[in-house]
Every structure is written in C-alpha cells, then in structure tokens.
Amino acid sequence: MSSRATYIPWTQKYKPKSLSEVIGNEEAKRKVLEWIRTWEKGIPEKRAILIYGPPGTGKTSTIEALANDLNMELIMSDASTYRTEEAVKRTAGRASQAGSIFGKKKIIVFDEVDGVSGTADTGGLREIINVIKSTRVPVALIANDAWDPRLASLRSLCELIEFKRLSVPEVARYLQRICLREGISAEDKALKFIAERSSGDLRSAINDLQALAQGKTKLTYEDVAWLATRDRKEEIFNVLRMIFYAKNSAMAKSAVNIADVDLDMLFEWIYENAPYHIKNPLELAAVMDMLAKADIYRGRINKTQNWAFLRYVIDLMTAGVAASWSKKAAGWIPFRFPERIKAASATKEERALLEEIGRKIGKKCHISSARAIKEILPYLRIILWNNPKMGKGIAKWLDLDKEMLTHIAEGKFSSSAKS
C-alpha cells in the first residue's frame, strides 16, 4: 500500500511530555495535580475525577503529561476499544486492585467516557462505576460533555474539573513553538489566523498547521488565507459523493482526478464508507464485489509491476461501485475516516513486536510464529493476568523483554501476523 506510515502527526510529535508544557487552563491543571497528590496520603474521598471540556483543550494531554512527570503507569482505554462490562473488568478491574507488574504507581484513565455506547458496550458504564467505588489507584474520566444524562450516576462519584477553550494567543504561542522546532519562520498573522479558525481547539490548529507548513521554511499569511474558502476535509467528502452518487460512469471516473489523496487511500475511503450509504443487501453485495475485484487487480499490479492494470482498478472502484446500486440517498450520512488506515499506522510497530514474540515462542515450543501467536499467546496472556509470577517465569524462559511482556499483558495487540 502507500507509504503513509512514516508520516507522524505533529499532534503526536509535539505532545507535551511534562505538565509544564501543557498550555492554558492553569487552574484546572492545578486541581488535577492536587487531587493526584492527595493519593500519596491514602485513598481520598473522591476516588475519581471527571475532566470535561471541548475537544483539543488539553484534557488527555494533562493526564498523560502528569503520569509522565510522576512516573506513573497509564492504564488507558478510549472509545476506539470496546468497553463492555467484560472489557472494563479486564483492563481496569485488576489494575485497580493489584500492584503493577513492574512496581510503578498506576492511574486508570477512561478517555471519551461520553463515547461509551449504550448498545455496543453493554454494562460498561455500570462496571466503570464499580471500578471507581472499589479502586485503590486514581481513576480519571475524560469527556466532552459532563452533563450528558447517561453520566449522571458517574458524576456524583467524581470531582469535576472543567477545561475551557484556549484563547487565540495561547494557541498561537504553541504553534509558534512548533514552528521554531520545525525550523519554520512563520508570520504572526498567519499563526493568529490558524488559531482563530480553531476556536480554541489546539489539536485542530496543529493539524491545520502541519497541513499548511510541513516541509516549508516560511509560512506567510497568503499561505493560510485560502483556508477560509476551502476546507481540506470537505474535499475528500466531495470526491466520495461524486463516486457514490455519480449520474453516470464518466462522472464517477472523473472523481479520481480531483481527489487530492492517492488511489490506495481513496480505495480505503470508498471501502470504509460504502456500507453506510448502500443499505440494500443485494446492492451492497454487488458493490463489495466490485471493490474485491478492484483489489484483485491491485494484487496483479503488485505481482507483475504492470501499472497499465491501474485503469481497471479505477474503473471497478468508481464506475463499478456507482453502477451497482440505485443511489437512493437515505438522508445525509456523514463520511467516516478509514479504520484500516488508522489501525495500520498505529500498529505497524506493534505488528513487528508481535511477530518477534511469535518467533521467540515458536523457537522454544517447536512451532511456527504464526501458530505461536494464535495458539500459545492467548494462554500466556491469561496466565500473566491470573498469576504474574508464573507468567513472568515463562516469559523469562522464552526470553521476552519487558516491553513485550507489557504488551502481552495489556492485550493490546491489534494486528494480525501473516501466516
């Protein structure tokens, strides 16, 4: 696929490592710090805090930076993972009671708690409440909206700490800091413009800055002014709309030309979003079949390096998709970012680590690494949960290092090993 894995978002790259680097919201940050400090004297009255506020104001960053400052182990779950009763028990239940495997102090964080779904995460909220009631380590909940009715019973158990929107000068100052580190000389006016557009959301401001300034040495007001009329995100949505709802095959095919993402990426967008738009099962099967066939041609290109086949990939993924369904729009449906891309970039390193673990187990147990991952690793994980001493003994014998062990115990592998 494409070479996007090397692209590091600046929001990651410039994530604050220490609380002193987190910008704004001084009072809120002080409250969080004080609350964590009270744990040194024993279990406080409120065993959890609920940090709330608009996106991009530093809620998660504050917790992460603090954990880093105080050398605490973060046990984190966000809306990207399932948070059923079972899952919460698994990740947080044990952690809230036992000492860490490596003796670090812990903090349990439920990010995006307002994203705990009523249907997909059955019993999740109730179990979070149970964890809070009995926890022996600090628990931090993070949400955009603390007044969501579903959080009512949680709210009473928590100390509430509000994060407010950042001011324009605060955001601009942070952007300036990034520019310095990237070797970009930026006009104040340009940064102020980006900051204003972000309405106090530092994350989106940094994303905009990266889109506009990466690879440049100078950033002028002219470079950024066009943002006012054109929104990058809108762009891919228009392309998708042109493909899904094309009036004819020519229009569907022409969408490729105006897309400012590469073909592999466009394919992922189409594949991700098709089932949300195409509801009739017969049509959905036909559309997915078109994508599967386009994928076969991609494979043939890979195998033969004959790029002339690309035309068939394009035909099938655009005109093929458009012609396979009746295009009755079921109201306005938002487009979603491709999951596979999110997962692929996040897990490339994890996959390498997983394969290394598989090799180590395989060598000792006389099986292939793929089978080791499939057949032995799940049991090893449970042994680690149940009986860290036995688990660590096995890990030592297998010659697994600390990082591998932590990864196994957290069960956070999310990618497959090719067999």
């Binding site: 698994r90 594949y271 089932p275 949300y276 099962p281 017969l282 959905l284 099967a285 559309v287 997915m288 079949d289 994508l291 599967a292 994928d295 076969i296 991609r298 494979g299 890979n302 195998k303 999951e339 596979r340 997962a343 897990t347 997983l354 090799r359 395989g362 000792k364 147990c365 006389h366 099986i367 292939s368 690494s369 793929a370 089978r371 991952i373 499939k374 057949e375 032995i376 690793l377 799940p378 049991y379 994980r381 449970i382 042994i383 149940n386 009986n387 036995m390 688990g391 096995i394 014998w397 297998l398 592998f413 999310s414 990618s415 497959s416 090993a417 090719k418 067999s419």
Partner: protein, 319 residues
C-alpha cells in the same frame, strides 16, 4: 511452559503411539534412518518423536546433528536452496554418517520449494536425512512422498490424555476435579499441546480446577466467534459483521485463510436452504482462491460477508 517441561526427551518416555515408537527404535538400533513423513493432527507428538529419535541416535549433544526448520516461517524456495543445502551437504563427525533435518509444518511449503526439496533430498541422501512433519501428508507432493517412510500419528486416546493430566497435576501440586478433566478433554480435541496449555492456564488461576475455570480461561483466550460473525451477517448487519472480522484479523491474529476455512466449515451447519449452502460454499471457495493468490484479506472477506448478508435477505424473502 508445561508443554516443553513435560515434552518427552527420549523414545522410551513417549507413552503412546507404540507402533511408531517401536519402528523408530529399530532405526536407532540400526543407526540408520530413512527419509520420513510424520503426518497427523496437531498435538499428537510428531515433532516430539522426531526430536526423541535424534536424541536416542546421537546422544545428549544431538542438537549438533539436527537442524529444525519451520516451513511456515521459512517456506520460500531460497531457504531450501541455501540453508538446507548448506546444512545437508557436509558429513558429520561421529559414528552416525548423516545429519537429520526436521522440517516442521512441511505441508505449508510452496510447491516450488517442495520441488527444490525433492532434488536436495536425492542429492544429499548420504549426509542428511529429512523428517517432514505435517498435518496432512496429502499436501506433500507425490515424488517426495514416494521417497519417504510414512508414519501416521493418531489422536491420543482419552485415557492416555487423562493419565498425562493427572501425572502433571501431581508433579505440579495442582488439584483438578473430574469435571475439570472432562472440560479440558472436551475442548482440546485430542491435541496434547492444547491440553497442556489449557491445563497450565487453568492452574494459574490458583484454585482447584473445575469445569467452570476451564471454560472461562478458554473463553477468554478465544473471545471471537466465526459463527457469531456469520449470524450477524445473515441477520443483515454488515457493518457489525465487518467490525468482528477486523477484530479477528487485528486483535486475535487470525489469518484470512484461517477465517475463510472456518467459515466454510460452518456453512453446512447453518439452518438455511441447501441451495444457499452450496452457493455460499462456492463463493467461499472463490474467496479462498483469491487469498491464496495474495489478494487483500480484509477486502475479500468483507465481500464474502456481504454475500452472507445478501443470502440472509433472500432467504427471508423466501427465494
């Protein structure tokens, strides 16, 4: 790990597969071993038998005379051409005039690699003997099969597994109840490796092992369900079925091939008209073929799930 701790070291320690063991012992006595194929289901002692044979043949330092390769990890033709050749062509020092190469999971070798192997086996017979370990000997090409002495390993009988469980529990000071043993037997399908993995995991709970503990640890180890994914698709929820698929691929490390084969084995157990079973089996076969050809696992399996959604819809409409 108990699978390794209690892996037999010598042929005498192997408690089952008597007929096979006695044939292997005769090889040791004659200090000569033909090329062999050890075929049989997982966890029936194939690799163990090969290692024990080598141990008895060469003594404690048998590792110096043995190379163990896993064909699933190193299945390309280059491994055969280079690694295997280099190992195979030099004559060992000592009273046995050949070395042993154990090729594990040999049924995962590509056809090209098998062809290359065939020549290598012929050319270096003087200095190296090959033991091919496989689940299905039918996946080994005919010319290799005809050069090898076949050994068929059968699933271990219940009594033998029970004895083994009881022996290990005694050694490890673990209490196990009768229904715990039953549950392990039920889940491990005659596979001793799986048996011991389940047993050790259940023991790590630290309580006397009963059926409940066994089912709970195995459930946690395998929290995905192919059948569940199929039902979700048949009920028309493609998006959830696709999420389940993604979870299997990413989180639990299943390969596309594993999933497609397991889907196939579920099809004929579904409560749907035969016409649709056959149709879905046909489509599954097509997807299987595409995966073998190197197509993208998730895209192809998603297309298959969409077909299940279509099937569910048509069946409800009564067609």
């Amino acid at each position: 790990m108990w699978t390794e701790k209690y892996r037999p070291r010598t042929l005498d320690e192997i408690v089952n597969q008597e007929e096979i063991v006695s044939r292997l012992k005769s090889f040791v006595k004659a200090k000569n071993v033909p090329h062999c194929i050890f075929a049989g289901p997982p966890g029936t002692g194939k690799t163990t038998a090969a290692l024990c044979l080598a141990h008895d043949l060469y003594g404690e330092n048998y590792r110096e005379y043995v190379m163990e390769l896993n064909a699933s990890d190193e299945r390309g033709i280059n491994v055969i051409r280079e690694t295997v050749k280099t190992f195979a062509r030099s004559r060992p020092i000592g009273e046995v005039s050949f070395k042993i190469l154990i090729l594990d999971e040999a049924d995962n070798m590509t056809d090209d690699a098998q062809q290359a192997l065939r020549r290598t086996m012929e050319r270096y017979t003087e200095t190296a003997r090959f033991i091919l370990v496989a689940n299905y000997s039918s996946k080994i090409i005919e010319p290799i099969q005809s050069r090898c002495a076949p050994f068929r390993f059968t699933p271990l009988p219940r009594d033998a597994i029970i004895k083994r469980i009881e022996y290990i529990c005694e050694k490890e000071h673990v209490t196990i109840l009768d229904d715990g043993i039953e549950a392990i037997l039920d889940l491990s399908e005659g596979d001793l490796r799986k048996t011991l993995n389940i047993l050790q995991t259940a023991a790590s709970v630290g309580k006397p092992i009963d059926a409940e503990i066994v089912y709970s640890v195995v459930g946690k180890a395998n929290p995905y369900s192919i059948r569940d994914m199929i039902f979700t698709a048949l009920n028309g929820d493609f998006i959830s079925a696709r999420s389940k698929l993604r979870e299997m691929l990413r989180k639990y490390g299943l390969s596309g091939m594993d999933i497609v084969r397991q889907i196939h084995s579920e099809i004929f157990m579904l409560d749907i008209p035969d016409k649709w079973k056959v149709k879905l089996a046909d489509i599954t076969g097509e997807i299987d073929y595409r995966l073998v050809q190197g197509a993208n696992e998730e895209i192809q399996l998603s297309a298959l799930l969409a077909k299940f959604v279509e099937a569910g819809y048509e069946i409800k409409r009564g067609s």
